[in-house]
């Protein structure tokens, strides 16, 4: 009797838990989980959206090897990430260190640095394109007339400068977000550590390298993973600022996948590209987690 009552109580408890979970879980399962599994299958198929789906085996992946645009996009994605990740980390950490000092107007300054992160990408991309307009833009006017540089960079309109331009705008837009994460990390460092170090005769630089940086390694670890993932997913900024051009100078993986799927209607091939993207992101994340023990210290 008692035992039976217990099991029905347990059963009841489980039902209650599931009832809390269900509204979200149904939506999540149908619109996220199933498509994720389906993406895996689709990369092995031929499909143009109109005709029958046919099984293609590894054909899509073999095609990738000889696809020049894919190769360029892959290299561009690495180029973009290699530029953006370290520079964003340095800028946001530097900002956080400055803002962590006892200064007036801290909240206002913090808001100024953070706002570009929440600003619409389309608006931001178009205003930067105008400011950096190669012939009429104010930046090049100043470079020519004030600094007497005869041939200023043609920014997003030139093959060589397009990617650096995108990287600069991306750092400008996103560093405020990572600055907040670093600020939270800095506030978690106990003051006593610095006081003890000062008593022992440590200077500011020593404090920074022996206390601040090691204590911030969990934040840096989190920031580097988040940044890497978001760099490999880059789409909007490039799509609006350069459209992947000039030529294929800023064509990254997601732009390529988008064009293949929604312009050429080659859904299977597009899924294969996305899957490669996912595998790269996964590998980098795994490597980062493997290396975590070597440099991240949790106190």
């Amino acid at each position: 009797m008692n035992k039976k009552g217990n099991t029905s109580l347990l059963y009841n408890k489980r039902l209650v838990a599931y009832s809390f979970l269900l509204p979200n879980f149904i939506g999540f399962a149908v619109f996220t989980l199933i498509p994720v599994v389906f993406a895996l299958a689709l990369s092995l198929m031929n499909w143009d959206g109109a005709n029958e789906i046919t099984f293609a085996g590894l054909k899509n992946f073999r095609e990738l090897i000889s696809d020049e645009t894919f190769r360029i996009s892959l290299l561009n994605t690495f180029y973009y990430s290699a530029g953006t990740v370290p520079l964003t980390i340095i800028c946001s950490l530097g900002l956080a260190l400055l803002l962590n000092q006892p200064i007036k107007g801290r909240n206002a300054i913090r808001a100024v640095y953070f706002f570009p992160y929440v600003a619409s990408l389309v608006a931001v991309a178009v205003v930067w394109n105008m400011i950096l307009n190669p012939t009429m833009g104010p930046v090049n006017e100043i470079l020519q007339k004030v600094f007497h540089i005869a041939k200023p960079p043609r920014w997003s309109a030139s093959v060589d400068w397009a990617m650096p331009t995108v990287i600069i705008v991306s750092i400008w837009k996103n560093m405020g977000y990572y600055m907040i994460i670093y600020l939270a990390g800095l506030q978690g460092i106990p003051r006593e550590l610095y006081e003890a170090a000062k008593v022992d005769g440590a200077g500011n630089l020593q404090c920074f390298f022996r206390i601040t940086l090691p204590m911030l390694t969990p934040s840096t670890f989190f920031v580097s993973i988040m940044l890497t993932i978001s760099c490999f997913k880059i789409f909007d900024l490039i799509f609006v600022m350069t459209g992947g051009g000039p030529g294929r100078a800023t064509n990254v993986l997601v732009v390529h996948a988008y064009n293949v799927a929604f312009k050429n209607f080659n859904f299977g091939y597009s899924s294969a590209i996305s899957l490669v993207l996912f595998i790269i992101v996964l590998c980098i994340t795994i490597i980062q987690f493997r290396m975590e023990k070597k440099w991240v210290s949790y106190f």
Binding site: K13, R14, V16, A17, F20, L21, P23, N24, F25, I26, G27, F28, F31, T32, P35, F38, A39, L42, G49, L95, L98, Q101, I103, I109, A111, V112, Y113, F114, V118, A119, S120, V122, A123, V127, I131, M136, P138, E141, K145, I180, I181, A184, G185, G188, S219, F222, K233, F235, F239, A257, Y258, A261, F262, F267, S271, S274, L277, F278, V281, T285
Partner: protein
Amino acid sequence: MMKMLNLNDIKNYRISSSWKNVFKKTLIYAVLSAGSLIMILPFLWMLSASFKLEKDVFRYPFTWIPETFQWINYMKIWKKIPFLLFSFNTIKLSVIITFLQLLTSSFAAYAFAKLKFRGRNFLFLCYIGTIAIPWQVYMVPQYIMMRHLGLNDTHLSLILLQAFTPFGVFLMRQFYLSIPNELLDAARIDGLNEYQIYFKIMLPLSKPALASLTIFTFVFVWNDFMGPLIYFTSDKVKTIQLGLRMFIQQYSADYSLIMAASLVSLIPVLILFLALQRFFIEGIATTGVKG
């Protein structure tokens, strides 16, 4: 050692250290202000250009304040493309998605944080795992599914795709974990069932987290570009970001109008940001530090 220092030494030390402090402070302010200027100048340039005549936008030497304010630019943009309709569509999407997101994810987060059931860890791993998968990986299957359901080019497609994101569940769960279990146990002893606990205790306590999630979702939907780009093709369903891009493509030489339209698209987010800045920052700290 202490005996060897006389009063003068201490004085000198104090003076030199206070000079050092002033110098240090000045340097910090200088760097931060220069940086702030870089952050804010593009927006000021946008504001200035939006009030200018077309021919004055790029005129050199550059003036920040136009001679005559072209208020008419702000009238023209509404007529050139259906900007009002686009704004309305965006507000509708943002509100509905945010509401559904808040409701379902705080509900699910309660189960993940405070209830025990079989498969909890595995399910939560599924949620977390999909946060790490780039959306682009499964955008094509989602698109095909929506097309099969006949929901392409309707608002419902994006609502269904964006209302149940694992991010919301994750954020709410992180917050719920910080609420002590003893509080809930006490309520259980008092005879409250789980639903009552959720509505009477958890929900009122989680206002800051709900506020964070609200603004994150709202701003995400408001600024989202790729989702609407893929799903919305006819003008009557398009959002403000698509409208802005349409505007840029159709009137690519109307620089001041483009700037006026851009500014209009930024204003709601700016207001929300200035009013609720605290919750943005707390939200990031919650997911960043504990995650």
